[in-house]
Symmetry: C2
Subunit: 346 residues, 2 copies
């Protein structure tokens, strides 16, 4: 039997808490005997939900947390003042090595602030980016950063490249993942001040497979596995992906309803289309890890369902079993040494 | 009869030059008697193409330009050295008031540099953004800037808001267009340093209908008519729009080919889908104007067809007849006065 992985699940986070969250946690432990879930949240509703399901009681424990951080609360104040919230209690368990990871569908800002201040960063990591997996024609890619640091320094992006590369190789299983810098042209000299300063650093960086710039149009075509960018650009990509898919699918459905002929065609084509569109459903790929923290912090979207939570918990298992943070620690210190050596050489 | 609008068409620009370019120019003059097109380019191939069509010879003249700016040429050097190119000759005609507008499918960088240096800016305009029209669920929106200034100042974005608003109202015909700032959240305090500095300026600006921030996911839903952003972000939106649409449509087509049932359905649904997807074809909406220039500079994409060229030429007519540049001039000077007044008040 493999080592048990202990995952805190924030039972009060997200629009569908605690019902879907508890359900997802149960589904995860029922799929894998090596998981132990700690549900943090208000005792009564959490226990009431748990009572609906069958599972090995040794695999789930609950911790009563009387406070809840609401979705719209100012993050910094929430983390500081609500010490008894499901999120802060869970994060402290990671800091104290009582758990390996935390999954939350709650307030994103609070998760980011808590990840940096309560859980803490791996030594040498400058900033912790959020890094969701997005569907492409060829599989999935990691978009790093898509929510944490809107005005980053080039050195942050270098670390994103390293961490994203490790994640794709050892959690997702893509050998020698192609790392690309999001830019507005393929040529090295293109872009804004940030990417112009970052490009040469990535080009020189040992230990990654840097393939150059990627234009946004080529992201869906799957031309890179790790897409490195500032959080402002990454967030635009992430949200437009979602919005454009919605709009086009809606337009196609409407198109099928225009006349009797197309309605019949639509009915015939529906089952095959459903399969196709499933590939564009981001919830199949777990949540967005906040990379570079001690332990693992995973953010699922606010409207997360049981399936999102289950996949996010399973993702934590691979993360732990593959020793991702040890690999990040090692690569970050090696790249620091590389940078130092180059400074000495000059 | 309305006043004649004189449009230079760069016959040598783009992947399909001169065939599609000349064809598009002919189609435009055959649709509207008030257009005069000046085709700039190498005499022989241009005349050979023209000989294929029927049109009123008073509506098209040619100007022989022995030089051609290639698609991959460094823009600044190209504009400086190739004085006899179809692009530079055409742009000089605008500066000298011999023509009202120029349409080109050629080297984008050269067009941007030439727009600023050869054609020149309207007095008071700080930078000239490129502003393509993009399809949404509710019609079209203008994305300003999507290619010219990757690290703009907040004051540029204020002018983009004004110019985009005028364009949408008087060229596209949307009364009181909704102007939004592209951001990663709906709340005023969200975003990077640029948008945080820009938001309050737009909020205070007279003469526009500012509706606040827009997230990328809401662009396809049509929640704004004028989307104001830096060129790096705008370019990401523009290209991802294109890439995501391609990928999803391809996935749906593939989905229809999975079995006999879905193939039959696909055949039945095809004509209706074709109509639907036409709404997402950006070439229906003309090219991207480079706003704020003396005269009008319109960039169509490199693979422009006759239809793109025709629509771009027709767009120039509306632009001229609606006196867009006079309106820009007036609004820019008024907003300068507003800014000055506020400085004095403080």
């Amino acid at each position: 039997m493999a080592e048990t992985v202990c995952v805190v699940v924030d039972a009060m986070g997200g629009d569908n808490a605690p019902q879907e969250i508890v359900k997802g946690a149960v589904e995860a432990v029922n799929m894998n005997k090596d998981i132990h879930v700690i549900l943090t949240g208000k005792q009564e509703p959490v226990e009431a939900e748990l009572a609906k399901y069958t599972y090995d009681p040794e695999q789930i424990t609950t911790v009563d947390c009387p406070e809840v951080i609401e979705m719209a609360e100012p993050p910094v104040a929430a983390i500081r003042t609500k010490k008894q919230s499901s999120l802060v209690v869970g994060m402290k368990m990671i800091r104290n090595k009582e758990a390996d990871a935390i999954v939350s569908a709650g307030n994103t800002g609070a998760l980011l602030v808590g990840g940096q201040t309560v859980v803490g960063r791996i030594k040498g990591v400058e900033r912790t980016p959020t890094a969701p997996l997005i569907p492409t024609e060829k599989g999935i890619a990691i978009l790093i950063d898509s929510g944490a640091n809107v005005d980053p320094k080039p050195s942050y992006l270098v670390q994103y490249a390293l961490m994203g590369s490790i994640y794709m190789e050892y959690v997702v299983g893509i050998k020698n993942p192609r790392v690309a810098l999001l830019n507005i042209g393929a040529e090295e000299e293109k872009g804004n001040a940030l990417v112009k300063a970052t490009y040469p650093l990535l080009k020189e960086l040992d230990g990654i497979n840097f393939v150059g710039n990627i234009e946004a149009r080529d992201i869906p075509h799957g031309l890179a596995d790790v897409i490195v960018c500032d959080a402002f650009s990454g967030n635009i990509v992430l949200k437009l992906y979602e919005g454009a898919a919605d709009t086009i699918i809606k337009a196609i459905k409407d198109g099928m309803m225009t006349n009797a002929r197309s309605k019949l065609g639509g009915a015939l084509v529906k089952p095959a289309l459903k399969e196709t569109l499933k590939a564009f459903d981001t919830s199949e790929y777990g949540g967005a890890p906040l990379l570079g923290c001690q332990g693992l912090v995973v953010k699922t979207h606010g409207s997360a369902t049981a399936n999102d939570i289950k996949n996010s918990v399973l993702q934590c298992v691979t993360f732990k079993q593959q020793g991702i943070n040890d690999k990040i620690r090692e690569h970050i210190s090696r790249s620091d040494n590389q940078a130092e050596k180059e400074n000495i050489d000059q």
